[in-house]
């Protein structure tokens, strides 16, 4: 079984955590934002993103020459934890910060980095993730949106679906087929293109989330021209490039903490009720959270040391276990205290319950379903 490293925060890191926390508390008190559950995917607030950008807290790990701070992966981990713990609305810039930036730093051209990264860092440029299609969910390699070579660029036709926040985003990293599907090597012939979502031929159509909120979208491409300089990395290498993103995407604190504001409120409520028996039951949640955080931090530390160890299996494991945990929180909470969940409730715990219950089904689906992750982990364990 893999042994993950432990993490002890340095004094500077603790100070950083404190700075972030203090800032967020001040903004919360000022009313700049309202805490909510699942704030990293469903809490979009461009004004807040710009404020975060001004603090230098987007692209924290990126090179200074692109506006980053050259801080460590663990520093970014701390920052993310603090956002999620207080339920701050970080969804608008989320994918650009977590995925697009690192992708461009790894595979992008100098021109792309210089153009996009400083904008992302300011909290002004948002990216969507264009992977899923109506007929390609878990079997992602079967995507059929295609790009054909023309003079100076590519012509894209097809459709993406479930694109979170595409209606707010400026661009989308889009997985397309650049050579015909070959049943023998399905992962070949895929490429990543940066599509301007305001370009001619792009249509973004909302799909209502089950709450009625506008969260994800369909994105249609009709003869959309994408210039050559918007190709990410190499043509035909899209699958491998996409996989490299996954470790970052799968094992972060957002796979554990989506319902943290509810856990916190549960504890506060039990304290107000002077309910020691309830706290005893809740201590199980705390222990589970602690034990998952150990794993997630361990993977972050491996990514930081970057010594080539394969983190894809533990990362998939963290996501499978972590999302199951965050999904279970409302169901456990309602057995410990009495709640009546509504989205416009006065009592914080009722509102957090409503947000958690309604968003929970997506936790174990988005970013790769648990079943698919189980398959990845099982094969990895057997191969060891």
């Amino acid at each position: 079984m893999f042994h993950l490293p432990t993490v002890q925060f340095t004094q500077e890191q603790e100070q950083f955590r404190l700075d972030v926390r203090t800032f967020l508390q001040e903004e919360l008190v000022k009313g700049t934002f309202t805490s909510k559950c699942d704030s990293w995917l469903s809490g979009d607030d461009p004004e807040f993103s710009k404020l975060i950008g001004q603090k230098g807290w987007i692209g924290l790990t990126w090179p200074k020459k692109y506006g980053g701070q050259e801080r460590s992966t663990i520093d970014r981990y701390i920052l993310t934890e603090e956002f999620l713990a207080v339920g701050a609305p970080v969804a608008a810039h989320w994918f650009a910060d977590r995925q697009t930036g690192p992708l461009l730093l790894r595979y992008g051209t100098e021109e792309q980095r210089e153009y996009f990264l400083p904008k992302i860092v300011k909290g002004e440029c948002y990216f969507g993730i264009g992977l899923s299609e109506p007929n390609s969910g878990s079997d992602l390699a079967s995507v059929s949106t295609r790009a054909e070579k023309v003079e100076g660029g590519w012509i894209v036709n097809g459709q993406k679906i479930w694109t979170s926040n595409a209606h707010l985003c400026h661009y989308m990293v889009t997985l397309v087929r650049t050579s015909p599907f070959d049943g023998k090597s399905k992962h070949a012939g895929l490429s990543q293109l940066i599509v301007d979502l305001h370009a001619e031929g792009v249509t973004v159509v909302p799909i209502k989330f089950l709450t009625g909120e506008h969260h994800y979208n369909e994105v249609f491409f009709e003869n959309v021209f994408v210039p050559d300089n918007m190709v990410v990395g190499e043509i035909g290498n899209g699958w491998a490039q996409g996989l490299a993103e996954l470790a970052f995407e799968r094992s972060g604190p957002e796979r554990i903490l989506s319902t943290f504001p509810l856990i916190d409120e549960l504890i506060q409520e039990l304290k107000r009720q002077n309910n020691l028996e309830g706290l005893k039951q809740a201590s199980k949640i705390v222990a589970r959270l602690w034990s998952l955080r150990n794993l997630s931090l361990g993977v972050a530390q491996l990514l930081e040391s970057g010594n080539g160890e394969d983190v894809s299996i533990p990362a998939a494991l963290v996501k499978a276990l972590g999302t199951k945990f965050e999904q279970s929180i409302p169901e456990i909470t309602r057995l410990i205290v009495q709640t009546y969940p509504t989205l416009d409730a006065h009592r914080k715990i009722d509102r957090f319950m409503a947000e958690s219950i309604l968003h929970a089904p997506g936790f174990t689906i988005r970013g790769g379903t648990s079943e698919v992750l189980y398959g990845v982990v099982a094969k990895g364990v057997i191969a060891q």
Partner: protein
């Protein structure tokens, strides 16, 4: 892990792999003693790890020792290694003289013996390996308070008994017996630390056994074929494998975080969290391992039960999960902080660090 620790772990694992097999564990479960294995550990000075050199120890720290204990759990090593080393660790911890011989301990405050004029009286049950060891390190209560006492077991009346795994858990009786050493009165803090350390040793043993059960089970899914293919090819078996891997990874990471916290002398709640979480881990791991092994795993012939029976015993030895649950609940109740603040304490506390709830 330090290089030194890697080396110790390596040496010990090789020793155990070579010397401990199912037959040896069976033999000791039937009431025999494993002199060769014990002598080997002693000759290699493994029994002196985490005792300072000025007190005749081999140096090393608590994290080194707990990692050796983890390995003895992984191989179900049938010797009182945990007992002897932890007894000595506690003697040094309470400023008493370290002893060379085989030793064991009794650390349940509810069972504390009565101490009067240097004489010990009373009865305690479930004392590990008492019949095979020479000295007992035990809690005892005098009119002044609770002490740690060392006493020679030759004066004791010992009634043999075993736990679910066939490990000696004897009843020990003293009647005005002469103690060898008595510590100063232990503060409640010190008693709590002893309980914390005791639980950490149990966690180490259990982590080892969990790791082994995972290995055995994964291996079995590769060997056993049904319907013309190895059973790991069935998705429902794969789901078992993933749950098992998840709980094992969590146990290992929890253990590593616990030992590191102890080493850095952080009196945090790591041991409490781990203890509460291990309760679930053991349920899942033992159930899944037996389910995947099916009939063969229910036989005495197979070695799986040597580890599952140990987990079913070890989880009930030392402070109970309800003790730790109560402790965490009480701390939460008394904490003026948000849960997040409580979970991410700063190493240097300052009034600045308080966050509005």
């Amino acid at each position: 892990m330090s290089e030194m620790r890697d080396m110790i772990v390596d040496v010990v694992e090789r020793m155990l792999k070579e010397k401990v097999d199912k037959d040896l564990v069976d033999t000791v479960e039937q009431g025999h003693w494993a002199p060769e294995l014990w002598d080997l550990f002693k000759e290699n000075r493994m029994t002196a790890v985490a005792i300072t050199e000025e007190n005749g120890g081999a140096g090393g720290d608590i994290e080194d020792l707990l990692n050796i204990v983890r390995l003895t759990g992984k191989y179900a090593a049938p010797i009182p290694f945990t007992e002897t080393t932890f007894a000595n660790y506690l003697l040094e911890f309470t400023n008493l003289q370290v002893i060379e011989d085989l030793a064991t301990y009794m650390l349940c405050p509810d069972q504390a013996f009565t101490l009067e004029n240097g004489k010990l009286t009373g009865e305690a049950i479930h004392i590990p390996w008492a019949r095979h060891t020479k000295n007992l390190v035990t809690l005892a209560r005098s009119k002044d308070g609770t002490h740690l006492v060392e006493i020679n077991l030759s004066q004791a009346e010992i009634k043999e008994a075993t736990n679910l795994a066939g490990e000696p858990r004897d009843t020990v009786r003293f009647q005005h017996s002469t103690t060898s050493q008595v510590s100063a009165v232990l503060s409640p803090d010190k008693i709590r630390t002893i309980t914390t350390l005791h639980t950490a040793f149990q966690l180490a043993l259990m982590t080892g056994a969990i790791d082994k059960i995972n290995d055995l089970t994964v291996q079995y899914t590769k060997e056993r074929e049904q319907f013309g293919r190895p059973i790991h090819r069935f998705q429902l078996v794969q789901q078992h494998i993933v749950h098992l891997a998840g709980e094992t990874a969590i146990a290992l990471a929890a253990f590593n975080n616990v030992t590191e916290a102890l080493l850095m002398n952080k009196q945090n709640s790591e041991v409490a969290y781990a203890s509460i979480r291990f309760e679930e881990i053991i349920q899942t791991v033992t159930t899944i391992a037996h389910q995947v092994h099916a009939a063969i795993g229910t036989t005495h012939e197979h070695s799986l039960h040597q580890f599952t029976r140990r987990l079913w015993s070890w989880r009930d030895e030392g402070a109970s999960t309800s003790y730790w649950t109560n402790l965490v609940a009480t701390q939460l109740m008394e904490s003026g902080d948000s849960l997040w603040g409580y979970l991410t304490p700063f190493s240097k506390s300052s009034p600045l660090l308080k966050v509005e709830g």
